[in-house]
C-alpha cells in the first residue's frame, strides 16, 4: 500500500467509527465524563483487562505455536482449555476441596490439580495431533482444518457430558449445560490497603497470583524457545521444516512437543480461569478460543511475543468496552480493531510483513 492510500484508509475508517460508533456505545462526551469523575474505575478495568488478557494470551500461545510449526489453525484448542477447567474442577473435588476450604489447606490440592490439568491437556493435545492431524499432514490444507473442527465438537460434547455428571461437579443450574461453580480458593488480601494506600481499586492477592502465574508461563515459554535445545529445534522446524530434517532434527517429535507445550498451557489456563472467574461452562472454550485466536492473528500468527501482546490487547479492549462502550458490542469492537490492524499490517502487529503482490 502506498502512503497516501494508508492515510486515506485511515481517515475513512476514523470517519466510519465516529459515524457508526455511537450505535455501539461510543459516546465520547459520556466516556470522558466517566473517566474524569471516576479515574479508579479506569484503573480497575485496565487491571481486569490485563489479567483476562494474560489468560487469553496463554491460550493464544497454543494457537500460534501450532500455526507456526504446521500452519494449522487448531480449532480444538479453545475446547481443550475448557476441558482443562473441567479437569481442574473435578480434581479439586476429588482432593476434597470445596468453596469452604482455606487457602492454606488448598495449596497442595491446587498444586496437584495444576500438574494434573497440565498433564492431561498436554497428553490429549499430543494424542489429537497423532491421530487427527498427523495422518493428514500431506493432505490438502483444508483436510486437517476440518479435522480440527471435528475434534472441537468432540471436546465440546465431552464437556457437555461431563457437566451432566453431577457427582463430580457442583452444578449451578439444573442441566448439564449450565455453568458450574468453581471454588474461590485464592486469598483476597487487598494489596493496596495492606501497603497503606487508600483507594477504591480492588487489587487483591487473588489477582496478583493469577497475573504472576500467567506472566511466569509467558516468560518461561519465551526462554524455553529461545535458549534450550528443543526450543531451538522448534524454531528451526517452524522456519524451514526441510532444513530442520537435514540438520538431523526429528520433525515428528518436535511437532509432538509443540502440541505438548500448547496443550499444557491450555490446561494451566483452564485452572487459572477457574480460580479467577469461579465459574466454568462447556461453551467457554469456544468464546475464549475465538478471542485467543483473534489475539494470535492480531499479534502476527506464528509469533510468540505477538500472541502475548495480542492477548493482553484484547483483554484490555474487552474490559474497556464492557465498562465504557457496551458489553453487547464488545466482540464487535474487538473485531473492528482486528480489521483495522490487519488493513495496515496484514501480517499482524509483529508478524512478517507480507509482501504485496503487484
Amino acid at each position: 500500500m502506498k502512503r497516501w492510500q494508508k492515510i486515506f484508509l485511515f481517515l475513512a475508517l476514523a470517519y466510519s467509527v465516529l459515524l457508526l460508533g455511537p450505535i455501539a456505545g461510543l459516546d465520547i462526551p459520556r466516556i470522558t465524563r466517566d473517566v474524569v469523575s471516576h479515574p479508579e474505575t479506569l484503573v480497575q478495568q485496565l487491571l481486569i483487562g490485563l489479567i483476562n488478557g494474560a489468560i487469553i494470551a496463554i491460550i493464544a500461545l497454543g494457537y500460534t505455536l501450532v500455526y507456526g510449526i504446521i500452519e494449522l489453525i487448531n480449532f480444538a484448542h479453545g475446547d481443550l482449555y475448557m476441558l482443562g477447567a473441567f479437569t481442574s474442577l473435578t480434581a479439586l473435588g476429588a482432593f476434597g476441596v470445596d468453596g469452604s476450604a482455606t487457602f492454606q489447606a488448598s495449596i497442595l490440592p491446587i498444586f496437584l490439580t495444576l500438574i494434573l490439568a497440565t498433564t492431561i491437556c498436554a497428553g490429549l493435545n499430543v494424542l489429537t495431533e497423532r491421530f487427527a492431524y498427523r495422518p493428514l499432514r500431506n493432505a490438502p490444507r483444508l483436510a486437517p482444518l476440518i479435522s480440527a473442527i471435528g475434534v472441537s465438537f468432540i471436546f465440546q460434547n465431552i464437556g457437555l457430558f461431563w457437566g451432566g455428571l453431577r457427582a463430580f461437579l457442583p452444578v449451578m443450574g439444573n442441566n448439564a449445560a449450565a455453568p458450574k461453580d468453581f471454588p474461590d480458593l485464592l486469598p483476597h488480601i487487598n494489596i493496596l490497603k495492606s501497603l497503606g494506600i487508600q483507594s477504591n481499586i480492588n487489587f487483591t492477592t487473588k489477582e496478583l497470583i493469577v497475573l504472576v502465574a500467567a506472566l511466569a508461563l509467558m516468560v518461561g515459554l519465551q526462554l524455553f524457545v529461545q535458549y534450550t535445545r528443543p526450543g531451538k529445534a522448534m524454531r528451526a522446524v517452524a522456519q524451514n521444516r526441510d532444513a530442520a530434517r537435514i540438520m538431523g532434527i526429528n520433525v515428528d517429535q518436535i511437532i509432538a512437543l509443540t502440541f505438548l507445550i500448547g496443550g499444557g498451557l491450555a490446561g494451566t489456563a483452564g485452572l487459572l480461569i477457574g480460580l479467577y472467574n469461579n465459574t466454568i461452562v462447556f461453551t467457554m472454550g469456544f468464546t475464549a478460543g475465538l478471542r485467543a485466536f483473534t489475539a494470535a492473528v492480531l499479534g502476527g500468527i506464528g509469533n510468540i511475543i505477538g500472541a502475548m501482546l495480542g492477548g493482553v490487547l484484547i483483554g484490555l479492549i474487552s474490559a474497556l468496552s464492557d465498562q465504557y462502550l457496551s458489553s453487547r458490542w464488545t466482540n464487535a469492537w474487538i473485531f473492528a480493531v482486528l480489521v483495522v490492524i490487519l488493513v495496515f499490517r496484514p501480517g499482524g502487529l509483529l508478524g512478517e510483513n507480507v509482501q504485496e503482490k503487484v
Partner: protein
C-alpha cells in the same frame, strides 16, 4: 554402467577405501520414477561430482542418500554398513551432512544459531566450539555477520552459511547441492576454492553441480546423470575431454 563400475573398483584397491556405495537405487515421487537405477561410488578423501542438467535427478540422489527420500529398490552402503533404511537423524549422526539446494537457511535465526543448528546431532560442546571457530576461519564473512539474521544475508553469504552449517555436523561425507547456483562468477571461484580446502582438510565430498566446468576442475572423479540414470563415469580429466560432456555440459563444439 557395469564398465565404469569395474573401472572405479579397480581404482580402489581396497574395499575399505570406499566410503559410499550406492547400488541400483530407484526413487519415486508418487508415480514419477525419478531415479532409475543409480549406482555410484565415493572413495575416502575424494571429491566426486555428479553433473547433469536440470531435472536429471541430482537433488533426488542426495536426498535419497541422506534418508530424506526412501529408495524403492537398491542399496546404499556407508562405510560398509547399509543406511538406506535409517532415519535422517541417524544418518547425520553417522557423519553425512548436506548443504541443500536453495541453501535453506533459517531466516529468523542468527548466523550463530544457524551454525548451532548444524551441530544439532552432536553433544560435545567443546568440539562444537572449535568447529565453529574453524568454520568462521574458513568464512570470515560469516564472522562479521555472526549476530545477523540468516534472512538478511546476501546470496553468497547464505551459501557460505549453508556450507558452514553442514560442516558443523563434523561430517565425514559432505553433500553439496549446487553451491554455485545464483552466485557471481568471482564468488563461485571463491566457494570452489573453499570446497577444495575443506577436502584437503580431510572431508570427503559429493558435489552436485549444473556448473560442470567448475565442478570438473575441483573434483577427482565424476558421474553424469541424465533423466535418472548414470550415463557416464570417469576421472574428472577424462570427463573434461569427453566429447559428449563437452558438447552437452561444457557448451563447447
Amino acid at each position: 554402467m557395469r564398465e565404469s563400475r569395474r573401472e572405479v573398483q579397480r581404482h580402489y584397491r581396497y574395499r575399505a577405501q570406499i566410503m559410499l556405495e550406492v547400488t541400483d537405487v530407484h526413487t519415486y515421487y508418487g508415480n514419477i520414477h525419478a531415479l532409475k537405477g543409480v549406482s555410484l561410488l565415493v572413495g575416502q578423501g575424494e571429491i566426486v561430482t555428479l553433473i547433469g542438467s536440470n531435472g536429471a535427478g541430482k537433488t533426488t540422489t542426495l536426498r535419497t542418500i541422506q534418508g530424506l527420500l526412501r529408495p524403492r529398490q537398491g542399496t546404499i552402503l556407508y562405510e560398509g554398513k547399509p543406511v538406506d533404511s535409517l532415519s535422517t537423524e541417524a544418518i547425520v549422526r553417522l557423519g553425512i551432512s548436506q548443504s541443500p539446494e536453495g541453501r535453506l537457511i533459517f531466516p529468523r535465526m542468527t548466523v550463530r544459531e544457524n551454525l548451532e543448528m548444524g551441530a544439532f546431532s552432536r553433544r560435545d560442546s567443546l568440539g562444537i566450539k572449535s568447529d565453529t571457530e574453524r568454520v568462521l576461519n574458513l568464512f570470515p564473512r560469516l564472522r562479521e555477520r555472526i549476530n545477523q539474521k540468516g534472512g538478511t544475508l546476501s546470496g553468497g553469504e547464505q551459501q557460505m552459511l549453508a556450507i558452514g552449517r553442514a560442516m558443523m555436523a563434523r561430517p565425514r561425507l559432505l553433500l553439496l547441492d549446487e553451491p554455485s547456483m545464483g552466485l557471481a562468477p568471482m564468488l563461485v571461484t571463491q566457494i570452489f576454492s573453499i570446497i577444495r580446502d575443506i577436502n584437503t582438510q580431510g572431508t570427503t565430498i559429493l558435489l552436485v553441480e549444473q556448473n560442470a566446468r567448475m565442478a570438473l576442475t575441483v573434483a577427482h572423479r565424476g558421474y553424469v546423470l541424465q533423466t535418472g540414470q548414470i550415463v557416464l563415469a570417469g576421472t574428472a580429466t577424462a570427463l573434461q575431454s569427453n566429447e559428449m560432456v563437452r558438447k552437452a555440459y561444457l557448451g563447447e563444439i
